[in-house]
Amino acid sequence: MDTSWYVVLSAFIFCIGAAGVMTRRSPLVVLLCLELMLNAGNLALIAFSRMLGNGEGQIFALIVVVVAACEVVIGLGIIVGMFRRRLPIDVDQMNELRG
């Protein structure tokens, strides 16, 4: 398969993720859509890595996985914290973190 196929697929997934982030209200789903975007990036990275024939893109993808894991952990921690404190779980009403 040509690399362009992978790149277009990656772009498509990225856009779905972006649309999700923009339209959904639940922070849980917003986080999930962020994951989608990160994964789209991963796919592009690996496709390009394959295109160039060296493995460096894969390293970046691996680092992205790590970053995503961290982001999820912190994001979910915040959500659980909000849930415990009975704050509204809705990104539009989340303003408790404002200084």
């Binding site: 849930f83 415990r84 404190r85 009975r86 704050l87 509204p88």
Partner: protein
Amino acid sequence: MTDGGLDTPGESQSGARRTDGPAALLPPYREREESISLGTLDEQPVSGTEVDIDGGPDRETELMTINLGPHHPATHGVLRLLCTLEGEVVRDIKPLIGYVHTGIEKSCEDQEYWKAITFVERMDYLAYYFNAQVYCMSVETLLEEEVPPRAQYLRVIHMELNRIASHLFWLGTAALDIGAITMLWWALRERDLMLDLFEMSSGQRLHTRYFQVGGVFEDIPPGWEAKCRRALEVMPARLDQYEALLDENEIWLQRMKNTGIVAREELLALGVTGPLLRATGEPWDLRKAMPYSSYGDFQFRIPVGTVGDNYDRYRVRLAEIRESLKIVEQALDGLPEGPFITSNRKVALPPRHELATSMEALIHHFKLVTEGFRVPPGEAYSAIESPRGELGCYVLADGSAKPSRVHMRDPSFVNLQSLKAMGENSLIADFIACIAMLDPILGGIDR
């Protein structure tokens, strides 16, 4: 899923809506459930309730109510426990009972005294000899009837064998609840030794109705004593096997030690007796404290625990089996000769051979079988030490041939109240272990 599912029998019977059947039952059943006020649980939030953002319960403690039972592998019968869980921790326990209430006490009022024995034996179905014994004791008190010594000894032998059988069954099921599946089969194997003996002496393995008012039903057959001694011989080795399987097992010790501790004072206040109480170090055993039957004749010790955790409860019961073996052995050694039932023909059936020769015997037999014996008015409460604690029996006689009231103070029923104290704020697994160590017999609880 309509309400009307029940009003249209054809539909629910057709099988076409089989999956919908239970759902159709839901609304009325739920209404019934709600009629049970849950007391302290009322105020507490239950998971699945509406998320109330502005007020409502604090979510730091997320609670979930589950029904442990009426049909649950760990409840040893149809015991229903309404448990409130916080994660894996049991925060509140509410026993709901009555699912096998069969009205035995009421049924006894319609039976002659000697026929009621059959009924009371069905209460605590693992300790049937004890039920019969305590009932007979109460009736004998009212009749002021002396029981011949041989009958007393036979009663003690059978009761102690029954205690062993009961404890063995408890051991098997309790270990099963902890996850040691092999223990159940080993314990049942030895229990069968006891049941074989019962079968030989009375013809039945369960609910033998061997004890009679005034003595026992029949003398033990020849060969019974030898068979009993053989059983006694193998038991200590088998008990060693159990201990090898359980006591040398680190997981078992970890699961048992320091779980379900209840202080002695609290147990006394809750009316708990039996091994549960002795596990805390209180040597209260009616066989020693207030000897009945012929227990005063035997040398045995009362095993007691130290801290009153589940491990002590387990050890106490196991040690009790060994003591019971000693009692049976002594009773067999000292088994007196003589009649096995009182010679009072007003109470006990005449021997079979007399019927052919004696007119009086025939009359007595006829009177007893048709209308039973009359008991002078009065009331009596007697208590014995059953495998689960003090088993009391209150009999109210109004002068007729049928008891006016028979009440059994069943130890399972009273001990069940301590479940909350034992299991509260412990993990589910420990709570299950507590139920197992409580050894509740639902036939005794619900009667």
